[in-house]
């Protein structure tokens, strides 16, 4: 099935000159089939999201009486203004932004400090500490949920954004350290060594030299953290009960419950909730790809 690799110039290396003609015709057809297959997969991946955009711009008459594939007769942008102003969607949105931003900054700074201490400083036990962080990757969130709920209740931190932000930070530290680690190990140490010779303090070296030098990987780690935090559901659903502290993922649940028959409003709500991620993706897709790859497979 993988004849695709014997196209064009490759085929020449491979085949005797006599049957080159038929073979390249065959591999061109095979290439076409492969390509078609890949495009069908792409359509399967992207179509549900396009359909969501379509019905977010329709009214109920169009949704219920016309083909689901039809374009909206005239785009009903009022669906968006309605859900943004009538419900708490704008409030949920700003809560999501706040928790995401605070947790991302906290996670990236703390993870950078740990990675710096592990890769740059000499101490016994650095391997063990790194191991502790890495094993954290395998712990299922649900196994910590009841104790976290009970501890936060005791500390009067339940229904308090702090509980969510701290949980985001703790659970994202392992993957963030993992993403940073490769970059720190490859980063030349000469500049830092020179600074030590000049008598610079460690804090100066870390904040003024190393941290700026690692800005590319910090961007990657931050965008991955942003996606995780923005999409998080269980912690907010468990720790937060007041409307005023809910994030989009939890808030849209209740909201959609009220609008069960208004597909346009539901669609608009969902589009609002995924739009920041889609925007980040269009602007920073290379960083996202890099971050997911480096955060997932290290063996």
């Amino acid at each position: 099935m993988n004849t695709v690799k014997t196209t064009g110039s490759q085929a020449i290396v491979n085949e005797k000159k006599t049957n080159l003609g038929t073979n390249s015709l065959f591999s061109r057809a095979a290439y076409g089939i492969m390509y078609l297959f890949l495009i069908i997969v792409a359509i399967f991946q992207i179509f549900p999201i396009i359909w969501l955009f379509l019905f977010s711009l329709k009214n109920n008459q169009e949704v219920f009486n016309m083909s689901p594939f039809a374009l909206p007769e005239s785009p009903k942008w009022e669906n968006y203004s309605k859900v943004w102003t009538e419900g708490n969607i704008s409030l949920y949105f700003f809560n999501s932004v706040t928790y995401t931003v605070v947790a991302v900054i906290l996670t990236v700074v703390l993870a950078s400090m740990v990675t710096f201490a592990i890769t740059r400083m000499n101490w016994k036990g650095s391997k063990i500490v790194l191991g502790l962080f890495m094993i954290g990757l395998m712990i299922p969130v649900h196994s910590t949920l009841i104790p976290l709920f009970s501890t936060f209740t005791k500390l009067n931190m339940i229904d308090n954004p702090l509980s969510v932000i701290l949980a985001y930070t703790a659970f994202n530290l392992p993957i963030t350290i993992m993403i940073l680690l490769g970059f720190y190990e490859a980063l030349p140490r000469e500049v830092e060594e020179a600074a030590v010779m000049d008598g610079a303090s460690i804090n100066y070296i870390f904040f003024k030299i190393t941290l700026p030098m690692t800005s590319p990987v910090i961007a990657t780690a931050a965008i991955i953290n942003m996606i995780y935090n923005w999409n998080e559901f269980v912690f907010v659903n468990t720790f937060i009960s007041s409307e005023k502290f809910k994030t989009l993922t939890v808030g849209i649940q209740n909201f959609i419950g009220q609008y069960t028959t208004d597909w346009g409003a539901i669609g608009a709500t969902l589009v609002i909730s995924i739009l920041p991620i889609l925007l980040a993706f269009f602007l920073l897709s290379n960083r996202i790809v890099e971050g997911i790859a480096s955060g997932s497979v290290k063996g």
Binding site: K5, T7, L110, A117, F133, L145, I146, V234, L278, V297
Partner: protein
């Protein structure tokens, strides 16, 4: 250099905040979960020590084993879907123009919140106005099923968006691994007369075996703790037909206020995840994979 970089106080200061958070919010809770599992506790009042009763109840709870079976089925389907992802990746990593764009398109669903994906697929599966049944009716199917409302279909209907959601993630991983194989190796095999199929099966697959091993662990463990999408789409229903371990634990603790039993399930979930990770890495242990 050594003296500055060995300053114990500074090292402690750099490690302590993160380590404290991970210990307090991840490690202490998993120990507590095991401990709470020994208690009769409604989450608010006093705990009462009842020994291993919750755990023995767990062993004899048919509803728990039903949810465990569903989690296991999810894990099997997720692991099987890896074959499909691998197939797509091998094609994609050939000389395909636009491969980079395609793999980015594949990735989009994975970046979206499971909750949003769940809401979207609720609409796709909508019995009367969803795209799925509209297409089926136009193809001449008289009574298309109500998918998520049918207890014999709900779990399988949920597997489709899961496969949809994670496709891009695994394809990205496989694609990166395949692109890492030195071109000279493939070229040498080709000159020796290996067919593309032989190259894929005998050279490429063995070379990325370590990566495949990691993805199997990710897929299986990920499925065992799967929650968000199911919680929103069916909440384990109808009639518990799509209940999985994590949702069963959540229902017992936060809806049924049986925090002791919920903790026992949570602890069991942890043990299963760790054991499965260990078993899979033992089973798929390969010889020297360096190239």
């Amino acid at each position: 250099m050594n003296k500055v970089m060995s300053n114990k106080k500074v090292i402690a200061m750099y490690i302590a905040p993160a380590l404290f958070l991970v210990l307090a919010l991840i490690y202490v809770p998993i120990v507590q979960t095991g401990y709470f599992g020994l208690m009769k506790w409604n989450g608010i009042g006093d705990m009462e020590f009842i020994g291993l009763k919750n755990y023995s109840h767990l062993i004899n709870d048919p509803l728990f084993w039903k949810s465990a079976l569903h989690s296991f089925l999810l894990a099997v389907f997720s692991a099987l879907s890896l074959i499909g992802y691998l197939f797509i990746s091998i094609i994609l990593a050939g000389k395909i123009r636009g491969a980079n764009l395609l793999r980015k398109i594949y990735l989009i669903p994975m970046l979206l919140a499971s909750v949003a994906i769940a809401q979207l697929w609720l609409k796709i599966y909508h019995p009367t106005n969803g795209i799925l049944n509209t297409v089926l009716i136009s193809l001449g199917v008289d009574n298309p099923p109500a998918w998520l409302a049918e207890s014999n279909l709900a779990l399988y209907a949920i597997i489709v968006p899961i496969i949809w959601q994670y496709a891009g993630f695994y394809i990205l991983i496989y694609y990166a691994a395949l692109k890492n194989i030195p071109e000279s190796l493939i070229e040498a095999a080709r000159i020796d007369g290996a067919t593309p199929l032989q190259i894929a099966l005998k050279i490429k697959l063995p070379l990325i075996m370590n990566v495949i091993k990691v993805t199997i662990v990710l897929a299986v463990v990920g499925s065992l703790k799967y929650f968000d999408l199911i919680y929103v789409m069916t909440d384990g229903g109808p009639n518990g037909s799509s209940e999985v371990m994590a949702s069963y634990m959540y229902h017992k603790a936060f809806k049924g206020f049986d925090f002791g039993y919920g903790s026992a399930i949570g602890f069991f979930l942890l043990v299963i995840c760790l054991v499965v990770t260990f078993i899979i890495s033992k089973l798929t242990k390969t010889k020297n994979d360096t190239y």
